[in-house]
Symmetry: C2
Subunit: 253 residues, 2 copies
């Protein structure tokens, strides 16, 4: 098929390509330095503000210089994700109490996404697992390694991280809307947009109406609301685990 006859770069081996070459002058910058600058910009102004030119300007060089360190912007985003994920700071190994371990993962992951709002918006289908993401994976899957087949473990861990992602995304969206409108959450419920008001009025959307009128646990702050949903998710996950004698928990193996 003459489809790129070269040996092939598999597809995304950023993590294999060595940072420093054997020959040539010493590089003036580093991948970590560039990645950190990119993260700094994305934190402050969003992911799309972290363009190659902008990042280069941040570290005081030309845009094309970055391509000496990173093959493409997409790969740089992969580096950014792993760079941020490295802040997670999880224990070396699961404690044996799966519920406590997953709670830890969930809460720190949420905090991470609130600290780096662009994390939720990264294109998903890139199967790029850097060292920090691998650590997270090892810890999370390891916590659930209680006799289930690996496929089931993956499903359960996916449910947890899916919840974390959704919850953080919602929280960020609300926060954004508060910032733009100047109103707090309580005040926004009444003053909703014309479209929402129409939907509430037409009587065709009872569940949506309940979401608008009843939801959001109005007496909880964001943290409490997250924990509440998290407990529900953990209960669900528990149902997928093999039964345990109920007293023999957190047994250090």
């Amino acid at each position: 098929m003459a489809e790129g006859a070269n040996g092939g770069t598999e597809h995304a081996d950023i993590w294999m390509r060595p940072e420093r070459p054997a020959r040539g002058p010493r590089p003036a910058y580093s991948r970590a330095q560039i990645t950190a600058a990119a993260v700094r910009i994305a934190d402050a102004e969003g992911l799309e503000a972290a363009s190659m030119r902008r990042i280069a300007a941040e570290i005081g060089t030309g845009a094309m210089s970055l391509y000496r360190y990173v093959p493409s912007r997409d790969d740089l985003v992969d580096l950014m994700v792993d760079h941020a994920t490295a802040e997670l700071d999880l224990p070396d190994r699961p404690s044996g109490d799966w519920r406590a371990d997953l709670t830890l993962v969930a809460e720190r992951s949420r905090a991470l996404r609130l600290r780096h709002p662009w994390l939720c918006g990264v294109e998903r289908p890139r199967g790029s697992f850097g060292p920090a993401q691998l650590r997270l994976l090892e810890f999370g899957l390891g916590a659930l390694d209680l006799g289930l087949p690996i496929d089931d473990i993956l499903v359960l861990f996916g449910l947890l991280m899916g919840y974390v992602d959704d919850a953080a995304q919602q929280e960020l969206a609300w926060r954004e809307e508060e910032r733009r409108s100047g109103l707090d959450r309580e005040a926004m419920m009444g003053r909703s947009g014309a479209y929402v008001r129409k939907l509430l009025a037409d009587g065709e959307h009872p569940m949506f109406a309940r979401v608008v009128k009843e939801a959001r646990q109005p007496h909880m702050d964001a943290e409490e609301r997250f924990r509440y949903g998290l407990e529900r998710v953990l209960d669900c996950i528990q149902a997928g685990l093999p039964a345990v004698p109920d007293d023999q928990r957190s047994s250090r193996r």
Copy 2:
């Protein structure tokens, strides 16, 4: 703060803005026509190929003409999402058997994402709910309306759709890799990339190794694999529901 002193377009009221104006010549095209063209392109060449110029060329006009029908490309993407979602074809109301209803939602949603691969990659934080998405929401939440507070219902439905999204995304990624490499899934396991081989060899990633070596239910095809995970998720959701007398199920209220 002098922050846009106008009355404000709330933020995304595509669904309120009337298609036809009162005065002026009859428009030559329609929102539906433009949206359909965009979906056609995105299906064949990906979401980013559906640029304003490309879409305009598809229907035989200039790029700027589209802005007579749609305020921005982001809004057009919202229209595309709802246009695709409208294919879902769900019953008018939940049947009373929540498990059957959610199974229906999950399988059709998966099929929809396989038919429109770009759906999984749409930027999430847009809280834009068109009529088709509202139908889906009403049906899904309604199926779970069994006495729980609305917040719990939202969490459970979120878990389900999160699973569907993840599973579809994974399936699409594998399909893409098969297409590019020419190998089938079975053959790819051994011939994995250098990075994966390194991770397997270093012994530091036991769970990742299990994922690579044991997962994917090698004896199942994609459909079976999806259903298998789906049953796990539904079991989990069941645990979050109020207990039922075990025999009194699918009782038509």
